[in-house]
Symmetry: C2
Subunit: 300 residues, 2 copies
């Protein structure tokens, strides 16, 4: 990872954690609920989605746009965190380990984990309703997040993923599942940041292509790491997807084919960033490019 | 139930079902997910929260406000429906029967029920982001719903309720639990309708008192019916709360004491409605009064 990206991720990660800590400070009698929400949202993590919000906002709108992005960055992390908590439940993927720690329902209990996930999703929209953006832009951002998170976005992807266990998927079906399950929220992160930065429709379409490419690349790299990294490096059970007979890029394309796919997606992301910047001097996509580099180079 | 209220509930119920059917028409590959969402949101139900949105909007803003309330009414029903689906899960209340039908996780499976609940919550905010209200009012409505539904509202109430099983609660603790678990969303329904109708701060405070009173009255009547009605009339297992050793108004106050409490809350609701209407000719609180009457008179 480049020194520039490392500094950017540290700053954006610190900022989103401050916003989340403030939002999740316990103000009710439901102490276990808040403890579980904090555990899920503020544990170790890459904070990739908040970083994308900030990076896209800065690329299009400079430092002023960053200052308007805190609530949106935290909202994206809340939705991501809630989805992991519910995904790990026994009735879903039944995972005991996440980012090197017991999953939320192991650390607390299933009921608390279900409720903490529910409340984190709600917290995302509460954060967005309190952002300093002009109201029409605020509404547009809320609509983007809602459409990306729900039954035609992330949740649809989770439903298709669950139905795919023990099934054979084609490569097209696998891509569609990931486009929804993880891609929709990654695309929403980049689009929301770009909207806050003042993107026009052409720039918005280009940044969506960038985010779709890195979203799929992220998943391809996940599938590669699932078979090449050990459990300690990964922070979750190594080989877990293969053990559940889940179709992966590696099972469909082989390890070399998956690596070639990651490189192709990386190239597509770079082309899309050229289109984001085309003809506009003030657009600076360097951090977005570094994020794309990191996603295909990462080892955990 | 008065003929006037019956007609109002039929119209508002029909309208919210049309809005929900449109919002939940299957537009993705996740067919089981959409089937479960439709099953949960469009099964038999009182549609009390949408009715409150419409009734409060009409009381303050007349027929024009009703036309602006469809998305909000449907959003309230989505949040209510999602909360029931998750509440019924084995890790939560573990109920097999709801409104005379198998609960969502029995009809489908647990994973689908978890995801359908998640997607219904998200659908609520998607609906609100697409409402025709002026953007600043839209943002205010979204904030009201988010605060009422989340970790300082409904979800906190559910967490406190779960922790209360096998515990002895004082009457004050029981009221606080219900104020959050069911009251918060009922208050939000009335406040959101009133906001759409153009309520000023005094009217908004008065309608909140009205809704707090009928919200608690609704719960007191639920506890009374849990011991006096049979399972068939109730559409859920009779005596279920008592069997789980959950504290209820009846267990704390006795049957006569609970009935007196319901009457006192009914009187408080009527006083609050007087304050909503005070000095303003155009305010018509009749349907809201009839809703309060119905809540303490209902037999299921």
């Amino acid at each position: 990872m480049s020194a520039g990206l490392k500094a950017f991720l540290q700053t954006s990660g610190h900022q989103v954690e401050q916003t989340l800590k403030h939002a999740l400070s316990d103000q009710s009698n439901a102490h276990a609920l808040f403890a579980a929400m904090n555990y899920a949202a503020l544990g170790p993590g890459k904070r990739l989605r908040p970083a994308l919000v900030y990076a896209a906002a800065r690329a299009l709108g400079g430092k002023e746009a960053i200052a308007l992005s805190h609530e949106a960055a935290a909202a994206l992390e809340c939705v991501h965190a809630y989805s992991l908590v519910h995904d790990d439940l026994p009735a879903m993927d039944d995972d005991d380990l996440r980012r090197g720690r017991p999953t939320c329902h192991i650390q607390f209990d299933q009921a608390t984990a279900i409720l903490a996930g529910d409340a984190l999703q709600c917290q995302a929209f509460e954060l967005l309703s309190a952002s300093p953006l002009p109201a029409p832009l605020q509404i547009r951002v809320i609509g983007e997040l809602a459409r990306a998170s729900g039954a035609r976005g992330m949740v649809a992807g989770q439903a298709i993923d669950l139905a795919a266990v023990e099934q054979s998927l084609t490569l097209a079906q696998l891509k569609e599942m990931h486009r929804l399950k993880t891609g929709a929220l990654i695309v929403a992160s980049a689009r929301i940041g770009a909207l806050i930065g003042g993107a026009n429709d052409v720039q918005l379409a280009a940044i969506s292509r960038y985010a779709e490419a890195i979203g799929l690349a992220f998943q391809v790299q996940d599938d590669i790491l699932d078979v090449t990294a050990d459990t300690e490096t990964l922070g979750k059970t190594q080989g877990a997807d293969a053990a559940r007979n889940k179709p992966t890029y590696v099972s469909l394309l082989g390890l070399d084919g998956a690596r070639a796919e990651a490189q192709a997606l990386h190239a597509e992301a770079a082309r899309a960033l050229n289109d984001v910047a085309a003809g506009v001097d003030t657009v600076d996509t360097r951090v977005l490019q570094q994020l794309a580099d990191y996603i295909v180079e990462r080892s955990h």
